[in-house]
Symmetry: C2
Subunit: 418 residues, 2 copies
């Protein structure tokens, strides 16, 4: 992907660049006047007007009747509005339990949303559900397939960056290959992009309110039975050489407590770190601590894995001493992992997501206390806000970014419509 230097072959190039600038500014604050846009972009009023007329012909922009002026004197400005409804994108999230489809306009406003429960591992059935849910979403938003400009689907497993084939999925073996791509391709005439769910969740979480204008490097840790992380640097999702960056679960720093059952972990394909701090380990810890303290009720009520998390989190929230003690231990361990993240990546903020985030502020407090003990200044910690929606939001975001890059002329690739 080498970027060859841009060339201005013809004055038309200027129009493209300027149209892009105007559109970017217009999207930043829609509903401004021509004069205001001129001031903001640094262009002359005429240049802005010319760009606006081009955009108007393309349907991306419309001029509204002069509004009631807030000013006391002068001719009221003609208000220019970005027509977010000019195009739409689809974001999809696939998990073993359900399929989620969200349609949004070019402004990112969600206009329709459908969820279908999933069971079994029948590829053909999944394909039918996918087609039906996409169609239902479009119908519910009153859209035809050709009004969708881009679609992006997040699925578990490793997605090949180039061929878009799904290479490996432990939890959903039937989606390997190009099943999803083919199915979506047959019901949508627009480009379709497949990506890893954790990666998209990172994008989604990053763009939530508050992080929207965030510039610094960020790490989003998905902390559940497994532990993985998405890394955002230079305002982009970093994937690593083999699309495996942020594989926190395979950190090897837990040499204490060697009786963790490395063999078990290996059998399940778990890494050393996730076996040591994952939710399975937390529930075990809570159970052991509770037994030791004689609280057999709590010990018995704990199921395995992520489901047991809810029970543990509940116990924690009501101040149960066994749960608190277990959290203390698990956060001590996790803080060592965060120490490695800090040392190598030095992120500005670490966002904790996944089932473990249900422990809430307790988690942050305990982690912060442990991080204070370390010799490097720790990053800021935050809790993830989106939970289930993260993947679908990230998918929407990716789709919108693709539209921006391709259809809406953005600076380097300055082109207006195809």
């Amino acid at each position: 992907m080498d970027v060859d230097t841009p060339v201005a072959s013809g004055t038309r190039y200027m129009r493209e660049v300027n149209t892009a600038a105007v559109l970017t500014e217009l999207r930043r604050c829609t509903g401004t006047s021509v004069t205001e846009l001129a001031r903001a972009t640094g262009l002359s009023r005429q240049a802005v007007t010319r760009s606006i007329s081009g955009l108007e012909e393309g349907g991306l922009v419309e001029l509204l009747a002069p509004q009631r002026p807030g000013r006391r004197t002068g001719r009221p400005p003609q208000v220019v509005r970005f027509r977010a409804e000019a195009g739409h994108v689809l974001g999809l999230a696939l998990t073993p339990e359900e399929l989620r489809v969200v349609a949004a306009d070019l402004g990112g406003t969600v206009v329709a949303e459908e969820t279908a429960p999933l069971t079994g591992t029948d590829g053909a059935h999944l394909a039918r559900t996918l087609t039906a849910t996409v169609t239902a979403t479009l119908d519910s938003a009153g859209l035809t397939p050709d009004q969708v400009w881009h679609a992006c689907l997040g699925a578990p497993g490793i997605v090949d960056r180039h061929t878009q084939q799904i290479r490996f999925t432990a939890s959903m073996p039937h989606i390997a290959g190009d099943l999803l791509l083919r199915t979506l391709g047959s019901c949508l005439p627009c480009p379709v992009h497949l990506d890893n769910d954790v990666k998209l969740a990172t994008e989604g979480e990053r763009r939530r309110a508050g992080h929207d204008r965030h510039e610094g490097p960020m790490v989003l840790v998905q902390w559940g039975e497994r532990v993985g992380a998405g890394i955002v640097v230079f305002d982009r999702l970093y994937r690593g050489a083999s699309n495996d960056a942020g594989d926190l679960g395979f950190l090897d720093l837990c040499v204490e407590d060697p009786g963790t059952g490395q063999a078990d972990a290996d059998a399940q394909g778990l890494g050393a770190f996730e076996a040591w701090v994952g939710t399975t380990r937390l529930t075990s810890l809570v159970r052991e601590t509770a037994e030791r303290r004689g609280d057999h009720t709590l010990a018995r009520s704990l199921q395995e894995g992520d489901r047991g998390m809810d029970t543990a989190a509940e116990a924690l929230h009501r101040g149960d001493p066994a749960a608190t003690e277990a959290l203390e231990e698990i956060t001590r361990r996790f803080a060592k992992g965060l120490g490695a993240v800090r040392a190598l990546l030095d992120p500005e903020v670490v966002v904790i997501g996944g089932p473990m985030a249900r422990c809430g502020e307790h988690l942050l407090t305990a982690l912060n206390a442990h991080l204070q003990q370390q010799r490097l200044d720790p990053p800021r910690l935050e809790l993830a806000a989106l939970e289930e929606d993260a993947i679908v939001r990230g998918a929407l975001h990716h789709a919108l970014a693709e539209v921006e890059r391709g259809a809406l002329a953005l600076p380097p690739t300055a082109r207006l419509f195809s």
Copy 2:
């Protein structure tokens, strides 16, 4: 650093874009004809000619008399040459032992080089040496200070990105603050940039032959008494939120061997990992092993720290069993650190530099063997090629990049001095 969208306010913008394109192409292969440039850039011949005349006025380019043609027919082309000598940059590297100053032209060709030995921690003396060495370098190249367009100095310690103040330097306490900046500012009328030595060494190593067109993520580990790393992702040096990314030395995963003398390490400002795998530790290991094996000659000949490294490396190269055994142990430890790098960053290649690199291929072989034991596919390992020159090359490189970005006022997408 928010990049506001470029705007073409005035047709001059096109000229700038096209001039940048021409200059980029010209730098890629200097000594081509106008027609060839037109073909390469996609511009018309006239556009190229116009850009060339502008560059010629600025002195950045010159037209050579028609050469003896290689072709058999046709009018010989007018050859255009990039005048690398039109401007110069200075790269400086400061270590506790010496100061190195290199002057290069805009093509990156070194035109003068001076080295001054350093001792003690007297700020005023250092300042005098700095001024004298810079002056000597300029004299030896026949340059006046105003012919230098940019200077960049690499020094140990944390450099504040914005104020350019050196905040902390264990090995050179007297350079804290703005001493270096003030001194350089008073003898050079051009912009001066200060940066961390490891970061600059990374840039230097990255641009060496072979890596020049390298696209993938890369980590350069400086392995000496201290251990630090530079990280290159998205083809850029990654610094982290507090300019401290890649601080491998402070990794905390060496819970075995707790008698390492953490107190000592703390006193010297060393991190846990570097105390565990640094060259000081290696020489101790070699000494202990040699003693145990009864080789008192080798044990006695080992000095402390980086100087002892030479003796150790020598012993290793002649196949000394004690040195080999010590290397085996130290690489086992280091491989754990590389495991963390792999898990979090997933680099395509890890380059090993610093004094430890003197162990040569032995080092790579031992490390690779240990990495094979880990559960994630290891990155490729390479030895650094530049050694001492890395910092100064990186500094030169940074200076050239700054010239490209600032002095020539070119669009950020254009890369002239890659």
